[in-house]
């Protein structure tokens, strides 16, 4: 049998009880459009500690338009440290725009205009210096994008050039090592810190990008479909990392993969054509959605 046609290999997972169990990896070919049959088996949520989220970031009546086109329409939403918020919805629903507005990356688009407020720890993001804001709100992209430099320098990138004084490698080492540890990459790269980052595998590159974001100690981490370019094994590793980080960092993840949202998220926001349709606990959104649109989307009716 052609190996490409066989089902993906099972992935080891650490269950809540502590004993390793085997769960099926999400099929790579579905690309977010999970067939009904697959969804019937409710995907296992990754184990997590029970915490009460502390609100870090909030939008109030946030609207964003590109020229005449309204991409986000009066969305009020909040995310706290100790939880993962997943933004789901069909392509073009405004979820990525919403995510990119949280660290004011949308400001780079000349035609974009914003209304309403975005608050970080109760302060309007417009009141921050944009570089300060972006250090407090990190971001991970669809494609792994390490910079063309060594592994060490990638992680140290955000720490350098902060002041007029250039920190030495010895000064940077603790922070870099810690970030690599938290991203679950340290053991794999500890002997190759001076090797070019672009020689790493795709999954390692994405974890390096997580480490790069974590090194500046952000309070919020924005993930824009972080696993869409990765294989199931790497996806599983990244998802475990995300859940492990949620106690220290407030995490917002945009994903087309509904199973992924169920595995990693605590709360889910469903968007459609710029409107926030449904916003609630992950179980509620997926099992007993209030809005008809949400029910159709999570059951594969459209999207």
């Amino acid at each position: 049998m052609d190996p490409r046609l066989s089902p993906p290999p099972p992935v080891r997972r650490i269950a809540a009880g502590g004993a390793p169990t085997v769960a099926q990896a999400p099929p790579a070919a579905t690309n977010g459009h999970v067939p009904n049959a697959a969804r019937a088996k409710n995907p296992k949520r990754l184990p997590r500690t029970e915490t009460t989220p502390v609100e870090r970031m909030r939008t109030e009546e946030l609207s964003i338009a590109y020229g005449e086109k309204l991409a986000v329409n009066q969305v009020s939403i909040s995310v706290g440290q100790g939880e993962v918020l997943a933004l789901i919805g069909p392509s073009g629903c405004g979820k990525t725009t919403l995510l990119r507005s949280l660290n004011r990356l949308v400001d780079l688009t000349p035609t974009a205009a914003r209304g309403g407020r975005i608050l970080l720890d109760g302060e309007d993001v417009d009141s921050f210096d944009v570089t300060q804001l972006r250090r407090r709100v990190g971001m991970l992209f669809q494609q792994p994008n390490p910079f063309p430099m060594s592994i060490f320098d990638n992680v140290a990138y955000g720490l350098r050039e902060r002041g007029s004084k250039k920190p030495s490698r010895r000064e940077l080492e603790p922070a870099v090592f810690e970030a690599l540890h938290r991203a679950g990459l340290f053991e794999e790269v500890r002997d190759n810190l001076d090797h070019p980052a672009l020689a790493l595998s795709g999954g390692q590159q994405q974890r390096l990008c997580i480490a790069r974001s974590l090194a500046v100690r952000p309070e919020v981490l924005l993930l824009d479909e972080p696993c869409s370019a990765l294989d199931p094994l790497s996806t599983a590793t990244i998802e475990e990392t995300i859940v492990a980080l949620r106690d220290e960092v407030a995490i917002v993840i945009v994903t087309h993969n509904l199973q992924q949202a169920q595995r990693v998220a605590d709360r889910v926001a469903f968007m459609y054509l710029g409107d926030l349709i449904e916003y609630g606990e992950v179980d509620q959104v997926f099992t007993s959605p209030v809005a008809e649109r949400t029910r159709e989307y999570v059951s594969g009716g459209f999207g």
């Binding site: 570089t131 994008n145 063309p148 430099m149």
Partner: protein, 325 residues
Amino acid sequence: MSAHAQSRAPAALIERLRTAHRESWSLGDLVGVAAAWAAGLALCAIAAAIVIYMMVQGLQYLSISEMFSHPLPGLDQSQSGGFLDPILGTVVLTILSTLLAAPIGIGIAVWLTEYGKPSGLARAVESGVEVVAGTPSIVLAIFGLLVFQEGFLSFLSYEATDGVAFGRSFFAAAAMMSLIALPLIVGATREAMNGIPRHVREASYALGKDRASTIRRVLLPASRRGIGTGVALGMGRIVGDTAIVFILLGASLRLESQGDIPGLQVLQGTGSTLTTYVYNNSPAGEGGSPDKAYAAAFVLLAIVIVLNFGIDLITRGKGPSWTRA
């Protein structure tokens, strides 16, 4: 046995597909393919002929002592010395021109790709680069002579009479030569920087970096290969240009220093390069020493081939994974 049978079946299949393919080709396609083959082979033959002919002619007359001795004003070939000065002239002029062209070219490319505002100015800069690229080097040379003869620029060459500058020097020639390399450097750098996806820039901005440090620490290092290719191509053009040297480097076969600023005297002075040396000694010029013209032409060709080899080295291998996506 079974492995043998397996390996045989696809081979037969491939052979059948191949012949079936050929039979179905129309006459026009066959003629086209034949012409493409012929053109490719002819080009290889021409390139080989040039290299082999110059090698035979050049190596026959080339000697180490020629490459390390100064040209002499003898009319007879045996008394006209070597071509050390033209070699040095080529090296000095190429380095000086590249040092001028590379920062300016990279700067223009960075501005065009990363800033480009106002867009009217960006379009004007683009057309400017295109105009410079399309200007024949003899026109650039004449224009340069006009500019550098202005009295206030006499520090770049030396003062002739009545406050008019001589206008011919390594400085003057390098300034105009840099315009030849500039469009190539701008083009290659722009192409490389445009090949960097937007999310790589955004990843840097998302770490709180401003545009300047993103350019310096991420975009320029990621464009190294493109920049290197552009610079090497530009150097190749500089090495091979004759018109600018002929008009703007003075007519002296030897390096003649001018002025009194130590270290800059050579650059203020005049000289020659391999291209003008070949021209002067060939039957087209004064025709004094055709043998030496061949030898110098071979050295020139060798330099250009080495440069091209350098370009191959730069562009070999894979770029960052995100530039291939």
